[in-house]
Homo-oligomer: 211 residues x 2
Amino acid sequence: MSSATPASILDALNWRYAVKQFDPTRKIDAAVWADLEKSLALTPSSFGLQPWQFLIVDNPDIRAQLVPHSWHQRQVADASHLVIMTVRTSIDAAYINRYLDDVATTRQTNRDTLAGFEKMLTGAAPMMTPEWAARQAYIALGQFMLAASMLDIDTCPMEGFSAPDYDRILGLADQGLTTAVLCPAGYRAPTDSYAAAPKVRWPVTDVVRHL
Amino acid sequence: MSSATPASILDALNWRYAVKQFDPTRKIDAAVWADLEKSLALTPSSFGLQPWQFLIVDNPDIRAQLVPHSWHQRQVADASHLVIMTVRTSIDAAYINRYLDDVATTRQTNRDTLAGFEKMLTGAAPMMTPEWAARQAYIALGQFMLAASMLDIDTCPMEGFSAPDYDRILGLADQGLTTAVLCPAGYRAPTDSYAAAPKVRWPVTDVVRHL
């Protein structure tokens, strides 16, 4: 049943690195990309609330416009695909209601049987801040980078950008969204010397401790 | 070269779910677990700073003690392995220094060539709050859950716990650490009815938008 081996996962993780220079001429195959989008939609989240939208910026003009608001990092423009992980700035009653409707429909259960879950979500909603939502987006980020690397696709996780400028350019405020993190994806340029740099990680015995 | 196919990744993501009942009699193979620990240590993080420690609680007494501080969720006690993802409460000059020493040693570069990087890290350090560190831990969470699922290993991401109580029981404050998120791992019990429940997710076209 296993679809990978421990060694193949470690190989992918050792192969990947935060790409500094993407090859702007290489595009991810459309069918493979469509499956990566499905993988994003399958990301687990707290209470299953999926407080996100993943924006894929195909428009080269928008991507060029984002570069100066990304510490001038060219990955934003040059990668095959640019994923902008945005999150909801709040979880309101309408959103909870829409979610519970989806739970009831998907699981073919009576909406009334979800009253206890609804009460719990409504009680927890004030804690579902943009920061909480951003943490959920980072689950997507971690999952996406591993998935991509197992398909020989490069990524570069990026926190170096101006969220207010991204939100303004992408018109997110009106949609109750804000930018959490970026992940360009594509293929490393042959000239990117960082590809050959040894990976810097604390020894396993330092970061994993048994109690 | 690819170590997986898009379909195999989607299969793993559809197979996984947040396990409610682990089979307490089934243990993850020691060699496989050792590789999962390596995968945790390879998790990407902001600036490569790895502001975390992953605690694996083998001691059944400690696990039992944690249950009441985890909304009485039994996964904490019953799963084959309990991963507690803890993060640094601050990134200080000593930590930055130790990290840069490791960069210089690993990449066989003169420590002086990292002066610019050091300046950047020192400038950014005040923004490296526990919340920033927690986001990094969620990268590990997302990566770990996908890795496990591709090896037919179940997980359950858990935010429902009292961090102050965890920190106290685990003695984390003295080490400058705090608990960010939990991830029990093991094998679903045959009696866990949630395994068969259809997965609830927004349609891909709702959560992935092209611009």
